[in-house]
């Protein structure tokens, strides 16, 4: 894999041509929904002609197709937005391009980021970078596979309950979900506003660190953004690390546990203190997540009504049938499932019992995390209970699919930064990631620790 410095020392056109040819060579994986060849090449020429170089000058990258970009469609991998052309650009993409990075295309995802396998894409699944019979993970599956196949050194993703970390783990790349509010959500198709986080998947920790440094900061267009707190750390001091014991039970695949244990042993070997800790509320996290997130999903998807943009049923005979037919055709089954779940938990008479109750449990979970961070710098555990599963294995069993999120949703609900770092492969060669979770705004510390493990 080419490191970031080799990209920075190569003409932009050469970088982009290589990325485009790699993308075409790996078309079978279906990682990308759109390649912006002409646009990328002309931007490359522009950057090559410029005297002043940005921090990512000439570096090609790919964005998940739920980021609004100008000049190509933004589909969210849905029929609903199959022909939608955005008039504005996501802040994250704008900031990267301002530093000379070149977006060469848009990556596949589960439609509207609902899913953990990229099988819910309206345009067909993305295949795992290591084993084409297995899933890419999701919902940022196309982004993870693009990086794993070395098409680009980094790709942008979104993580609402594990959508960056899980595919990173399944494909053996670095996946960073920053602190909630670190990066502007402006111009990114909303899934669940209270846990949606913009992050990065990359070939090295260092690349993610630079990308995050560029993207982070307050944005007047997103009221939930935090003032820029991100400052990369050059060295890592001895840390106190807690292993979440609820993440290391026999429900978790033994090889996954072993790889996690190996990573922990290496941390000890480098002088860090590692102890077992307990996060009892984590067992309720999945239940809380599948109340809060569908509620927000049902709300955020209300705007796709066929009136102003997006799919519109031309055979509708009334306003009700226009809504019904447009939404029926525009959404995937998983989208509809979450809209129904969310509408149910928000409905009169159920709101207190489900939504408010879930928010209370969420607060208890946050309190537990805070208590642990009083004594520990970082928490550690696996990312996903298993390596990448087979395509089609879980498509008829949504509950089984949701269980794959059990270790990623706690950090999402608490708004904490969390990384997925490659931790080797199983005997059959499938990648396994390990998850580092820190307290809010400790993103730089997590990255420094992960970087140290890479060396």
């Amino acid at each position: 894999m080419a490191g970031l410095s080799s990209y920075l020392h190569t003409p932009a056109r050469e970088n982009v041509e290589r990325a485009l040819s790699q993308a075409k060579e790996h078309e079978a994986f279906h990682a990308l929904l759109h390649l912006s060849e002409e646009k990328a090449l002309s931007r490359a020429d522009l950057i090559d002609s410029q005297e002043k170089k940005g921090r990512l000058a000439g570096v090609p990258f790919i964005v998940k197709d739920n980021f609004l970009t100008i000049g190509e469609p933004t589909t969210a991998a849905s029929e609903m937005l199959a022909s939608f052309q955005a008039p504005v650009m996501a802040t994250a993409v704008e900031k990267l391009e301002a530093e000379g990075a070149i977006c060469i295309g848009k990556a596949n995802l589960d439609a509207f980021a609902h899913g953990g396998s990229t099988e819910n894409s309206a345009f067909g699944p993305t295949k795992n970078a290591v084993d084409q019979t297995r899933v890419a993970g999701g919902s940022s599956g196309g982004s993870a596979v693009s990086v794993a196949l070395d098409i680009v050194p980094f790709a942008l993703g979104t993580d609402t309950g594990g959508s960056i970390r899980q595919p990173a783990s399944f494909n053996g790349v670095v996946g960073v979900k920053p602190t909630y509010g670190a990066v502007s959500r402006y111009g990114v198709v909303a899934m669940a506003s209270s846990t949606d986080v913009i992050g990065v998947l990359s070939n090295t920790v260092e690349t993610s660190e630079l990308v995050l440094d560029i993207m982070a900061g307050r944005d007047a267009k997103d009221m939930t953004t935090l003032p820029d707190f991100f400052e990369p750390l050059s060295e890592s001091a001895p840390r106190k690390i807690g292993v979440i014991k609820e993440f290391m039970t026999s429900d978790v695949d033994s090889e996954v546990r072993q790889k996690t244990q190996d990573y922990i042993d290496a941390l000890r070997g480098r002088g860090h203190t590692v102890e077992e800790v307990s996060l009892p509320m984590s067992k309720y996290a999945l239940a809380v997540y599948y109340v809060v997130v569908p509620a927000e999903v049902s709300s955020n998807l209300g705007r796709y009504d066929g009136i102003r943009y997006g799919l519109r049923a031309s055979d509708a005979t009334s306003i009700a049938s226009l809504y019904g037919l447009s939404r029926d055709r525009g959404f995937m089954p998983e989208n509809k499932r979450r809209i129904m779940l969310g509408s149910y938990v928000l409905s009169s008479g159920f709101f207190d019992a489900y939504y408010l109750q879930a928010q209370k449990v969420r607060t208890l979970l946050i309190n537990e995390f805070n208590a642990l961070f009083a004594s520990y710098d970082v928490l550690i555990g696996p990312v996903v209970p298993t390596p990448a599963f087979k395509l089609g294995e879980n498509t008829d069993n949504p509950i089984h699919m949701y269980l794959s999120d059990v270790m990623t949703v706690p950090a999402s609900l608490a708004g904490l930064p969390a990384l997925s770092v490659p931790a080797g492969t199983t005997d059959s060669g499938l990648p396994v990631g390990v998850q580092l979770i820190g307290q809010r705004q400790s993103d730089a510390l997590l990255l420094a620790l992960a970087k140290e493990g890479e060396a």
């Binding site: 739920n66 980021f67 609004l68 933004t74 969210a76 937005l81 939608f84 955005a86 008039p87 504005v88 996501a90 959500r185 402006y186 111009g187 990114v188 198709v189 909303a190 669940a192 506003s193 209270s194 007047a220 267009k221 997103d222 009221m223 939930t224 509620a295 927000e296 049902s298 709300s299 998807l301 209300g302 705007r303 796709y304 009504d305 009136i307 102003r308 943009y309 306003i319 809504y323 509408s343 928000l346 409905s347 009169s348 709101f351 939504y355």
Partner: protein, 482 residues
Amino acid sequence: MTTHPDYEMTIGIECHVQLATLTKLFSGSDNDARDKDPNSATSPIDFGLPGMLPVLNREAVVLAVKAGKALNADIARVSRFDRKHYFYPDLPKGYQITQMYQPIILGGTVDVPFEDGSTVPVRIHHAHLEEDAGKLTHYANYSLVDLNRAGTPLIEIVSEPDMHSPQVAKAYAAELHKLMAYAGVTFGDLYHGNMRFDVNLSVAKKGATELGTRTEVKNLNSFRSVERAAEYEFARQIERLEKGEVIVQETRGWDEATGTTISQRSKEDAQDYRYMPDPDIPPIVLGEDEIRAIQESVPRLPASYRQAWQSLSLDPSVVQSLLANPSYALLIATIQEVAGDTLARRVAHWFSSAVSQSQEEEAIIASNFVPEGYIELAQMVEDQELSSTAAKDVFHALLTSELTPRQIAEEKNLLQMSDESALKEIVRAVVDDPASTQSITDIKAGQEKAIGYLVGQVMKRSAGKANPSIAQALIKAELDAR
């Protein structure tokens, strides 16, 4: 007052007030959609495009805090926004951003004034910030959506059910309008729907301990229609009850032309709005000092003017018409402070009659609001330099003129002839006129009123410039001398 021997009505009013901000509640689009092409005062946020996020307009928060002062209400230290979900083509996001659980304005009272000087207190339950929806125009087989108004900031003021007659409801609506206009919260343009009223009304037997089932008449945009709708609903509900029928809880529309309400939607069809806290907008947190600073900037409110004007002994209708325009009220109050009650009273009457003029003229009037000229004019009348009729003439000219009242009066040749020698000649001529013989005979016979004809003749010959009381004195003197 509308009453019935057996039944009593109970009214609560919800009022939507459009805030006078430059931009919309959550986007930078122009908040003034009047005379604009459809969908031209919009942005990707107003259109509900994917990935767009609301950015709260602080100016709207400031105006809500001012409204709180005008309503004698508390301001919540922490308030939040919620989403109210429903599908309609004029609602771009599939939800309206409102404040369901923690509104910004809590409690409050409006003392509704009446012409006899009494007041009826109406308690305010709360008032909250929210965004307006767009507008639909329906055609034969299609409808068009205009989102210019979508996202316009509103506060919805919810009263307690404290009103018991259509007249109180009307007066409450009018007073609310004044309060919001005076506090600078809204432009208060009723014609353009800057304030819209929903009247909730129920009827119960007198002395009953429980309220009857209420109906809600929505979207009334004048004080008069608030009154008429309440009158109609009162009669309609009593008629139903007398026939042994029940009142259905429902939303009704108002037909201005026929003066009737029409059923629109019953409780059974009521939508489940699936309210949810809006995760995109952090809570509004206001400190004591911030609230105080904002509220100290609120201009004088109507009640304060009414209090100050008690010493002017104006007719209540004059007070009402002056208060209809905050600029008039401020001018009169300033004149009262600077020049005293007598002159203020004169100017008050001039302005009070000017209120009835057309809107266009009022706009011109607003161009000259310097008190000095009006004070001088009132003083000239006081000093008998101008007749009250001539003064009205000068007043109208003064509204749009750069000149002083004296200059205007001179230019128009309106200054009264108080110079007795000049007047005496006219008086002699009138008395000498054979046409006056009858009047003179009558006067001498003790019919004092007959002098009016002679005074009128003097006024006529002096082209209106004669001071009538001096003229009268001179006529008497002339007749006595003969």
